[in-house]
């Protein structure tokens, strides 16, 4: 039974959510709004599980004096610091001038922005090391990247300033974006959509059930 009930729920709920698209009548017309609300509430409840798991693993590391256990203390302390501040500030925690905002602006933001921007370095290193014109396909990828990158900065048009307007790098980049790129995007989009339809259908029919785990 422990396995059948979830399968049944998945199937029934899945079919109902397909049908809601076609039925404008109550309650079906409310369903996508409900799902979005309910999902956000479940998500907010579930984060307790994740957070407790993180704390558990960190305390285990501290307790067993694993390598780098000192950093586990840092994780716990910084987690508790922002959580306590955030809960203490109340619902206006995000207003400017609160301690939570200070932590957000001067600790969280520099860390996440820097981590985001570290990509610039990795992009360059990947270009040097990995983007090789190994075969025709890879060459096409490189050429497209080359023209788009040049065409999108002012320096590109300086290089082709002797050419007529339509043949300048910026126009070429615009053409690539609007036609071959759009075609490729579309093929991928349609393909993914079909993949999602088929995967979803397998889940609804209960053919694919590994996501529900075992039946202990």
């Amino acid at each position: 039974m422990r396995r059948e009930i979830p399968l049944f729920i998945t199937g029934v709920v899945g079919i109902v959510f397909v049908l809601q698209y076609f039925i404008p009548h109550f309650p079906f017309n409310k369903m996508n709004a409900w799902f979005s609300d309910w999902f956000s509430i479940v998500q907010a409840c579930a984060i307790w599980l994740g957070v407790l798991n993180l704390l558990k693993i960190s305390f285990q590391n501290i307790g067993r004096r694993k390598d780098d256990w000192g950093y586990a203390i840092v994780i716990v302390v910084s987690f508790l610091a922002i959580s306590i501040v955030g809960f203490a500030e109340g619902e206006a925690f995000r207003d400017s001038g609160t301690s939570f905002t200070w932590l957000y602006d001067y600790i969280y933001t520099p860390l996440s922005s820097s981590m985001f921007a570290i990509l610039a370095f990795f992009v360059a290193s990947a270009s040097y090391r990995a983007f090789r014109a190994r075969n025709f396909e890879a060459t096409l990828l490189l050429l497209a990247a080359f023209f788009v990158m040049l065409g999108r900065v002012p320096i590109g048009d300086v290089l082709t300033s002797f050419m007529p307007d339509q043949l300048q790098l910026s126009s070429l980049a615009t053409w690539i974006m609007n036609f071959p790129q759009t075609a490729g995007q579309r093929a991928i989009m349609i393909g993914i959509a079909l993949g999602i339809v088929s995967t979803s259908l397998r889940i609804i029919l209960g053919v694919e059930r590994s996501h529900l785990g075992g039946g202990d």
């Binding site: 709004a33 996440s112 985001f116 270009s127 190994r134 990158m149 300086v158 609007n178 995007q185």
Partner: protein
């Protein structure tokens, strides 16, 4: 000397240097510096020459290490901050159509600006936001701001503050609640847009600061998208432009212009072609073009030189890597991984 000691020495020197520079700045003894144009050209030439050296090294079969590549990127991005070289920025058609759509709005039109990004994406999107708001305020368009990302409304406030510092705008003495409104953030992603389609107030019962919707003069009579003349979406991912197109444009027929991070932009091009988007600003380049059109020189224009340099460096590395690869393959006559 062990590596560790060397590292510590370098670290200490850098720290001391930073403290000194900071002290100079904090006490107001230094206000930054700028290379002359001649010097800028010399520095650029040096960077170029060193790249030629890398090419030669690579040809000799010595791939330079990751760290050196990283260093090049850091230098290539930072040095142009100090250079005085101007470049001509060309307006691409998708930016022009976006601007035209904005320019044909009569005075007093209501523009909804959705701020769907957070601080990490601000380098690309904040300049767009600032020039857009400057344009709206200068041309007496009413601005309604909201966010589907929790940090969006703060970014909006920052951009509004920046715009208000302009003399031409400050002299207009614009009023909150009359000339602009910040509705704040609402969670629920695309469903927020969908429910705004029937009633804005249901999603934003109060504004950013907790004032009831009905007390805000500007939006009292704004019930749904039919009361909004232009929607501008600043987007860094999900939820963002794609959701605005699918819900606000396809279902409620709004006129939508978008400012995207460059990563997001390619996925929005199919919508541009089909007319669901009237225009798109892609990344810092789009921001710079928009600044040029609206006539406010901001960070987008200022940083285009860094952007050009960065692109040239990445392209050089791709070229160097490939030249070496091709020569290597000729030598060995057999493909390598």
């Amino acid at each position: 000397m062990s590596t560790r000691t060397k590292e510590l020495i370098v670290l200490s020197i850098v720290t001391v240097f930073c403290i000194i520079v900071y002290w100079f700045k904090a006490t107001g003894r230094m206000h930054g510096f700028q290379f002359s144009t001649g010097m800028s050209i010399v520095v650029s030439a040096l960077i170029f020459l060193s790249l030629v050296v890398v090419l030669i090294l690579t040809l000799k079969g010595r791939l330079i290490g990751r760290r050196l590549v990283f260093l090049y990127v850091a230098i290539g991005v930072s040095l142009p901050f100090f250079m005085s070289i101007t470049q001509e920025i060309k307006i691409s058609p998708e930016v022009q159509t976006l601007y035209d759509g904005l320019a044909e709005l009569p005075t007093g039109s209501k523009v909804l600006v959705a701020f769907d990004y957070d601080p990490p994406s601000a380098p690309e999107l904040q300049p767009m936001a600032e020039s857009l708001l400057r344009y709206c305020f200068n041309n007496d368009l009413k601005v309604v701001v909201m966010g589907l990302w929790p940090q969006g409304p703060q970014q909006a406030n920052m951009a509004i503050e920046a715009a208000m510092r302009d003399e031409s705008i400050a002299s207009k003495n614009l009023q909150y609640g009359v000339d602009w409104v910040n509705l704040g953030f609402q969670s629920g992603n695309e469903f927020v847009i969908q429910r705004m389609g029937s009633e804005f107030k249901s999603m934003f019962p109060t504004d950013y600061a907790g004032r009831p919707y009905d007390e805000l003069e500007l939006v009292q009579n704004v019930h749904n998208f039919s009361n909004i003349d232009y929607v501008f979406n600043l987007s860094a991912g999900f939820p963002g432009t794609i959701e605005w197109v699918q819900v606000a444009v396809d279902r409620y027929g709004v006129k939508l212009g978008a400012g995207n991070t460059a990563v997001q932009a390619p996925q929005c091009y199919p919508y541009l072609r089909s007319g669901q988007l009237i225009g798109i600003l892609g990344g810092m380049n789009g921001a710079a073009e928009f600044e040029l059109l609206t006539g406010f020189t901001g960070k987008g224009t200022k940083f285009m030189l860094s952007q050009s340099f960065a692109h040239m460096i990445v392209l050089s590395f791709i070229l160097i890597g490939n030249v070496a690869f091709i020569i290597d393959r000729r030598k060995k006559k057999s493909p390598i991984r």
